[in-house]
């Protein structure tokens, strides 16, 4: 599956090849990693990879997968695998709200072609305004929210299709929960 941190960055292809309660084999972006895993009574587990021991725990929230690896906390969203950055120049097939908040302004329209770094939506959260910007050149396929909407953490705001310069993409609906 493709996983991306909720507030952006590149998506990673993660595949669990085998996990039998003692050993685990996965690939991350095609690189195979083998290690050990010990399940814990509380629903977490201890991972051992390359001699490093990490306590992991996780939960599924409404719009995100939340995990802790030691003291570090992460939130991921699953993204549709076929429209990868490598294929069509898209960093991600959609953009999600990095925190709960209110949509103050929608800066783009459906069908618009946006450039990397261009502002898409202004969110108000915790009394601060945050502008959500495009992570790559793209075409705005669908805007799923409008001004004034309250949005939840991880909720999909906008879906993209590749920018026109790229070959047309197959249908790629976001795989929201």
């Amino acid at each position: 599956m493709r996983l991306r941190r909720i507030d952006g960055g590149p998506a990673c292809e993660v595949e669990i090849l085998a996990c039998d309660g003692k050993s685990i084999r996965v690939t991350i972006d095609g690189v195979e990693i083998a290690g050990e895993i010990e399940p814990a009574a509380d629903g977490g587990a201890v991972l051992r990879i390359d001699g490093r021991r990490t306590r992991v725990a996780g939960a599924r929230a409404r719009h995100a997968i939340q995990v802790a690896a030691g003291p570090a906390a992460f939130e991921f969203v699953t993204v549709e695998g076929r429209v990868g950055g490598a294929h069509h120049g898209l960093a991600a097939a959609e953009v999600a709200a990095p925190m709960p908040g209110k949509v103050l302004r929608v800066l783009v329209e459906e069908g618009a072609v946006v450039a990397h770094g261009q502002g898409l939506i202004v969110l108000e959260a915790m009394k601060m305004e945050t502008t959500i910007a495009a992570e790559s050149d793209a075409t705005v396929k669908k805007i799923r929210v409008s001004t004034g909407d309250a949005v939840d953490h991880g909720q999909i705001l906008i879906e993209f299709s590749p920018a026109p310069a790229n070959p047309s993409a197959p249908e790629s609906p976001a795989q929201g929960e």
């Binding site: 599956m1 996983l3 507030d7 990673c12 993660v14 595949e15 669990i16 996990c19 039998d20 309660g21 685990i24 996965v26 991350i28 990693i33 895993i37 010990e38 399940p39 009574a41 509380d42 629903g43 977490g44 587990a45 991972l47 990879i49 390359d50 490093r52 990490t54 306590r55 992991v56 725990a57 996780g58 939960a59 599924r60 929230a61 409404r62 997968i65 939340q66 995990v67 802790a68 690896a69 030691g70 003291p71 570090a72 906390a73 992460f74 939130e75 991921f76 699953t78 990095p98 925190m99 709960p100 959260a125 915790m126 009394k127 601060m128 945050t130 953490h153």
Partner: protein
Amino acid sequence: MTGRKIRKLLIANRGEIALRVIRTARAMGIATVAVYSDADRSAAHALAADEAIALGASEPAHSYLNIAAIIRAARASGADAIHPGYGFLSERPEFARAVRDHELIFVGPPAKVMAALGDKVAARRLAVKAGTPVVPGVETGELGAARKFADRAGYPILVKAAAGGGGRGMRVVGEASALEAALVAAAREAQAAFGDGRVFLEKYLARPRHVEIQLLGDRHGEVVAFGERDCSIQRRHQKIIEEAPAPGLAEATRTRMVEAALALARAAGYQNAGTAEFLLDGDEFYFLEVNARLQVEHPVTELRFGRDLVAEQLRIAAGERVGAPPEPRGCAIECRINAEDPEHDFRPATGRVASLTLPAGPGVRVDTHLGVGAEVSPHYDSLAAKLIAYGADREEARARMVAALEEFSLVGIRTTAALLRDVIASEAFARADLSTHFLEEHMPRWRPDDGATRAALIAAALVAEGRLGATRGGESANGAAGGAAKARPSPWTALAGFATGGRR
């Protein structure tokens, strides 16, 4: 008001500090009354107290800042004293006055003292009168005088709000041409934030440490100092790591600092717990401000002196005399784990705790109000937990803190725990290269390391496949054992996502 035993204490606060005060009161045989907002109906502090009284809506103005409602709750419950905690109303003279006007004991200094110290310009004058060194500056925002001072003292210059706090209304001015605009902007910001647009100027210290003295004063005019704390490591002008003693502080400087703080406290007629804050630049120190309340970081002093400062506060408020502080021993470090995103400029994070593992062990103390199901809402400050580690020396305290932070795990809300771990484990912190710019200097653009990110990706994939963790709906899926050992649902795991009165 003369000495009066406290029988029932109302805690006008929430979160870890309310819980912490309740625990001490209970150990002293004092009944406790919690107050809570709508968002906190099932919060830890409300459940921990003997009684809990609703104040109003979640916004602080309707609840924890609502003086009338808090006084009403005190009257209704028959409380005879109010502890304000820190933040909220703790440094509002009008609150202290209202409490005393209703013949209740306020666990803090008199309103008049609080008012005198709350104004930064007035406090600065008081310090000068008491012979306490202050940062060179002028008490005016008038352009001509400001320019004259800045030319003499040299840039950079700091413009500060007289009524300020938390970095608001504060501007660093690098050169003469930027002075006028900075004065105007700081005044506007101060007016908006505090309803008081007065500003003043100080010389900007390039790489200072923040060192503060813990004070306790009684009603009989006695003031004592419980040593110092170094709180240099900050983000956005707010402390995140504090320790006692201040490493590498020359004994002579420490003595002069303690004496300056005591002189100031005596001049102000200070009572109860308070802290005199200083900037330390080499061996020179300069008075910053007095915080007329218990500080967030008081536990490092408690561990080092073996005293419960809240118990001391309650005894002082009841009219008892403060005794000489015991000999301090060892070292203590505190880390504030905030619900913030350290990868995005520490913006506040919110959410519900899905799972939580807290550290323990020799010399480790955890002060937190969070548990599984607890919600961090946008209404209140971002402090999620305080970890405090004690050791016979700094290295032992530091090693225990690293281990404690590595044990800490929270799913559901992003926190600063991993950043703090990296700071405490860093070579720069180990050799105590401390300054208020520590993060910019040593941890710019912090990110979790690749090993943690890789483990997190694997964990996320396991969660997505239902082989790890508990789902929000309440169904546990502890199936790291190949997905074969699907959850053994029990009432306990099923309740993991459940909280009454929650917003979701």
